[in-house]
């Protein structure tokens, strides 16, 4: 066995086994309401093995539920990027704009999704746009801040090239400022996607919409605890997948 297979396959499997053992012991000895790994699998296998079935609004295969959540996240995330990217560029480019809005950004940034959601419901009166609104508001800050930092850390050498050539404002932006900032922007996009996915659970719990988060909350209320674990595992898996995909995109942008 080579060191590489040991590190990449055997050790992670050992780690997973350790977690399962601790989990089994917990359900056995300390928290009797916590379903054991085996029982969790028994009660969830249909959701995993037939991941697209639909019996009712809240009783659906796990991938179908995840798909609903992903669509919702995609909407909120798209909105976050559409607002966050230009906002970040403005903050980075204009001292005046920065002075006027940076304090507000710093003020809004740490607000939890749980605080935004009721406000979204008040504004939109419907759960779906309120959820999208919350995702966008919470997820956009890494994009805003990374973009602004990226713009401000453009090498003076590149800017000097543009100044010597007397490039127009538009050319300066498209030929120098945007391409030079792109690696930072994509770091922001990756972090924003992680946040958007983090927020989805809270948004669905509070609005009771179908999706992984909504399912989780409903199953808690119906006392089907094994499905909470199923949901948690699904959220983790999808989140990891999204991060890896975005990491690939980011690496491509940065390789230039």
């Amino acid at each position: 066995m080579t060191t590489a297979t040991l590190r990449k396959i055997v050790l992670p499997l050992l780690g997973l086994t350790g977690v399962l053992v601790v989990w089994a012991m917990l359900s056995q000895a300390i928290a009797p309401d916590l379903p054991s790994p085996l029982r969790t699998w028994r009660e969830s296998s249909r959701y995993v093995l037939d991941p697209f079935f639909k019996d009712g609004e809240m009783n659906q295969g796990i991938l179908r539920l995840a798909f609903y959540s992903l669509v919702r996240v995609a909407k909120g995330y798209a909105l976050a990027l559409a607002i966050g990217t230009p906002l970040g560029f403005l903050l980075g480019l204009s001292r005046t704009f920065h002075a006027a809005f940076d304090p507000i950004v710093q003020f809004l940034r740490p607000i939890s999704p749980l605080a935004w959601l009721p406000l979204g419901l008040v504004i939109f009166q419907k759960s779906e746009p309120a959820a999208v609104f919350t995702i966008a508001l919470c997820a956009m800050w890494p994009t805003v801040i990374n973009t602004a930092v990226g713009v401000r850390s453009i090498s003076q050498d590149y800017l000097n090239v543009g100044r010597v050539l007397k490039l127009s404002r538009k050319k300066m932006l498209t030929k120098i400022i945007v391409p030079a900032t792109l690696p930072y922007v994509f770091t922001g996009y990756r972090l924003s996607l992680g946040l958007a996915w983090l927020v989805i659970v809270a948004a669905e719990m509070l609005t009771g919409t179908p999706g992984v988060g909504g399912f989780l909350w409903q199953e808690y209320n119906s006392l089907v605890y094994s499905h909470i674990i199923l949901s948690v595992a699904t959220i983790g898996a999808v989140g990891l997948l999204l991060d890896r995909l975005m990491g690939l995109v980011e690496a491509r942008v940065k390789s230039v």
Partner: protein, 260 residues
């Protein structure tokens, strides 16, 4: 009246703790199609002088006049080859050069601009690398792209800030020969900043030594009496070469002693 004239140029940099006087009354005059070098120790303020002539920074006192017009801010008529290449890494060689061609010839057709861009790339022998990005090129090749871009601005005066200091000695000699060949064909007005006395003598018509800072000034110009085209191999045996070299080295040594 000289083509490019720098009069009593002064520049200081202020930090909260103290003010550093970099240039204190620099005078310089160039005729059209003249190749002038400025030689000095590292850190004496040569890059500050180039940045001032390029208009990238503003002087505290003094003025710069090019072709009868005072210099206000940067512009492509004072083309510059930066010390650290400053190629845009997200663009190919072609795009880097085309950026300069397009900036100075808005009236020309797309076909003509394309032809010009390819011409400037060919001029520095980089046609095979046209579609490569700077990260795929060696240091010497990158600097040739920077030279092509500087020439593509079709400047009234080309400013070169220690253009070959970042490449190894063998590559440097090749680049010098190449620049000399290009200059012989085009005879543009050039200000070359360097810390290499031999490079200055090989390339230029006249050399201004710069005193070490703070408060650097230029010494009296030393004429390089060597005929053109010049050959690196025979140069060091010429009495004119030895005379110029001795004059520069002596001035730099004396000014350093006086400074310390």
């Amino acid at each position: 009246m000289p083509y490019l004239e720098v009069r009593a140029l002064a520049k200081s940099y202020a930090t909260p703790s103290r003010t550093t006087n970099v240039l204190d009354g620099v005078n310089l005059a160039l005729d059209e199609r003249e190749f002038v070098a400025i030689v000095g120790y590292s850190g004496s303020g040569k890059t500050t002088l180039v940045s001032l002539i390029a208009g990238l920074i503003t002087p505290d006192a003094g003025e710069i006049v090019l072709d009868g017009a005072p210099v206000r801010g940067p512009g492509p008529e004072r083309g510059i080859v930066f010390q650290q290449y400053s190629l845009l890494p997200w663009m190919t060689v072609y795009e880097n050069v085309a950026l300069a061609v397009d900036a100075v010839s808005p009236g020309r057709s797309a076909t003509e601009r394309k032809r010009l861009t390819q011409e400037f790339i060919a001029l520095v022998n980089l046609t095979p690398a046209t579609w490569k990005r700077p990260s795929q090129l060696s240091g010497g090749m990158r600097q040739r792209v920077a030279v092509a871009r500087g020439l593509a601005m079709r400047p009234k005066v080309l400013l070169m800030d220690e253009p070959f200091s970042a490449v190894d000695a063998l590559t440097r000699a090749n680049l010098q020969d190449e620049l000399l060949r290009i200059w012989n064909e085009h005879r543009s007005t050039v200000v070359l900043i360097t810390n290499d006395v031999d490079e200055a003598i090989l390339m230029s018509d006249r050399i201004y030594p710069m005193t070490p800072g703070p408060g650097a000034v230029l010494g009296p110009a030393i004429e390089v009496g060597l005929p053109r085209p010049r050959q690196r191999r025979h140069m060091s045996l010429e009495p004119a070469y030895q005379k110029a070299r001795q004059a520069i080295v002596e001035f730099l040594r004396a000014s350093r002693r006086a400074g310390v």
